[in-house]
Assembly symmetry: C2
Homo-oligomer: 466 residues x 2
């Protein structure tokens, strides 16, 4: 009998693993159980679906289910929920169409993803209140937006329209999703209120980036409520207002985007160890503490390249890469899942923000570093070339070793891929001096002679020598 | 008496060295001799000055002479040509205002730059034939363009206008300058003929990039003459046509941009060793074979980070960086000038092209590598995000060690700073496997989940395993 590779969860990590395993060894018996109907989709695109940049929900699908089944010969079973793992007997319990049965495995991958955190707000279940993580939630949100919010505005003010004629909507949480949703709603001409409990939006990007993004959000008309705790949602039959500690704001739709939690319960109940983050602990090959059980994607931890400690940064590339590596390992070719640097980028209206590595001082100290940082501003193009704009770069290094620890950037152009230079330097364990001596690309339309990264490294280098 | 640091040449390397030395030690006596009148200018911007994107020649100056003299307390003497170095006596011979005198030095920096190569074409001295390297040549070219070429067109066809009413111009050489000049002339509505002796434009970028750029040049209406040797220029009193082996093409202006040669004679005549490239040989601190004589910028070699061998890639960042390092070394803090990766980028009308490292197979073999390469095409954005375009990535690795050797890219967006990821990997001596496992930035508007660099590394990784 052929080796049976069972995958729980049919998104980035799961489908990458299934595809890679089957491609490397077509004799493998590869089964994927996905509890929903959607597989291999880009949830990161949901804000752009709501915005209208992406027309159909199907457009977010990278590979349709039929292709996995027919072209890749994967036994993909949607509408199948795995409810238990028996790591002793090497079988999973599956529920589908009202029936429950068991299926054996030789190797198992738990790729159950993450879910949107639902804070205990009053009125979370009111119509008009959404989280945004699953394809289903994106579909419902856009439908509600079109039928209940925008339709009202178009006819001159529906029952839930703001008193001045512009319908108002609320975004709870100033992370990636919150800011992307603010942009999506603003594109529809809606009055947007963005509530953030912390003093700054985009917490992982640090205050230097947040200051710039916040000013821009205000410039484009977003009502920014920082340091503001939402208490609940008010409304008769549907959302009408968002209540904070001190006030209430009219809103006909609200998105709660306060983060995600790993779906680690299935693995935990089977006895797999969880890390401090609450996600499934894994080794460099994605192996859990259970024999022949792997985990990858938004439910699992990964190793941070700077700290060499486990971290939980549920992002798409990490999931894809780990899934692919595990798919290869399963075929007998042990392949590390790779380390992460916490690299991320986000579009915030006309701005681009990006970050990588360790920016937070307390966190750096926890890992034994003595962080020193600088923030510089440089042009995105040669000073004489038209159309350039400022890029602000924050760079953090370790005083003792001179090693680069992290960076953040914000500007109107040239940011997302510029952070990759620093991310690459982090993976290479480079010092600030080494970063400063990189031979980076220069041409007047694309960069000053000294790239902003190099300028930041020069300034930080000087500070580290003091 | 204070230490006397004398610099020959007042552009990127020279002024960077002078400024850094003086900043680090204000007691130093810093003297710069520049034979021309311009210092610290961005010659890379000349095509954009001709194009009209940059209005005044002065706009290309990074720091004006007065600022060096008054704010930085540097004894900057323009119109002063150093004609000889006596390394025994530690003095230079200077000619200025018709007089010749000697000046002593404790440390000398030779930063004499490069000059445009002038091929032995017939008619090189005809009015209307230009090279483009010095500020003076840029000024003369734009003036000739405006008064002799465009003025004629504007009035309905001057004496040198092409017969169909559009004035025609010629660009000899399909390197950076040639392509940037083709764009500049096309912007003015001129008929452009581009002549390249080799089978491809942009030779250092490799044929994969050249194919794409050539198709684009033709699409935007450039008359591309590849594999075509120019023999000379024809005209009575001024340029009227460009003659090739088999044909003649009307042209009222021609730019010859066939490369640059290092101004290494001054150092060579003083006894400094030159490298195989003909540029001044230097060690990791920029020291020549002469005691207390440094060299940097477009007249000097540099160490290639992949081959660890000397190379001659006269570009602006290398000059600035080496100058700055030498300025620091002179103050008693020995600072390596840094290695180069041959990283370069160029705008070619609506395309962006970039390269880094070793692309040429023969060159890789000369240095003991067994190069394997792949070329992939991937989108610049998530597949569902509007406005994306293809990026073609060529990646070269060494079969035995798996080390990344070089890369080229071409596309409409996202190219110039994406090459920096590979450049950084080259400096770090990374393998293709390590490149593939970098945690690079992803968000739908800026990249697919797998960045094109990662996709290329995945494919090359598979090929290296075969």
């Amino acid at each position: 009998m052929s080796h049976r590779f069972v995958v729980v969860g049919g998104d980035a990590a799961g489908m990458s693993a299934a595809s890679k395993a089957k491609r490397e060894n077509s004799d493998l018996d590869v089964v994927v159980f996905e509890k929903g109907e959607w597989v291999s989709y880009g949830a990161c695109g949901l804000p752009y679906y709501v915005k209208g940049d992406v027309e159909e929900l199907e457009d977010l699908v990278a590979v349709p289910p039929e292709a996995f089944r027919e072209k890749r010969d994967i036994d993909l079973r949607t509408g199948h929920e795995v409810t238990a793992i028996d790591a002793e007997e090497k079988q999973v319990t599956v529920r589908a169409n009202g029936e429950t049965f068991t299926e054996p495995y030789d190797t198992l991958l738990v790729a159950t993803g993450a879910r949107a955190i639902e804070p205990p707000f009053d009125g979370m279940d009111l119509p008009g209140v959404f989280t945004l993580h699953s394809m289903e939630s994106g579909e419902r949100l856009r439908e509600y937006l079109e039928t209940e919010v925008l339709a009202g505005t178009a006819t001159g003010g529906g029952s839930r329209g703001a008193s001045d004629g512009d319908a108002a909507v609320a975004v709870i949480g100033g992370g990636y999703v919150g800011i992307e949703m603010a942009e999506a709603f603003a594109e529809h001409g809606l009055e947007v209120h963005l509530f953030e409990m912390l003093p700054h939006v985009l917490q992982p990007f640090g205050p230097e980036v947040a200051d710039v993004v916040e000013e821009h959000l205000r410039d484009v008309g977003v009502n920014l409520h920082l340091d503001t705790r939402v208490e609940g949602f008010l409304g008769e039959g549907a959302l009408e207002a968002v209540e904070t500690e001190s006030d209430a704001y009219e809103a006909s739709l609200a998105v709660v985007g306060v983060g995600v939690a790993p779906n680690a319960e299935l693995a935990a109940e089977a006895g797999a160890e969880l890390g401090d983050s609450g996600a499934v602990a894994v080794d460099e090959y994605g192996r859990t503490s259970l024999s022949d059980v792997f985990s990858a994607g938004d439910c699992a931890e990964a190793t941070h390249t700077v700290t060499q400690a486990p971290d939980f940064v549920p992002l798409a590339l990490t999931a894809n890469r780990a899934g692919r590596a595990i798919g290869q390992t399963v075929t007998g070719d042990p392949t590390p899942v790779g380390e992460i640097a916490g690299t991320a980028t986000v579009k915030a209206f006309d701005l681009q923000a990006a970050r990588t590595g360790i920016l937070d001082e307390a966190r750096a100290r926890n890992h034994g570093f003595d962080p020193v940082n600088v923030t510089i501003t440089a042009s995105s193009r040669a000073h004489y070339y038209p159309g350039g704009s400022d890029i602000q770069v924050t760079l953090v290094g370790d005083r003792e070793t001179g090693r680069v620890l992290g960076s953040s950037m914000v500007g109107e152009e040239g940011v997302p891929k510029r952070i990759d230079t620093v991310a690459t330097a982090l993976h290479g364990g480079m010092t600030v001096q080494e970063l400063q001596n990189l031979d980076l690309a220069y041409a007047p339309p694309f960069s000053p002679t000294w790239d902003p990264v190099l300028t930041a490294a020069k300034v930080l280098g000087g500070k580290l020598e003091d």
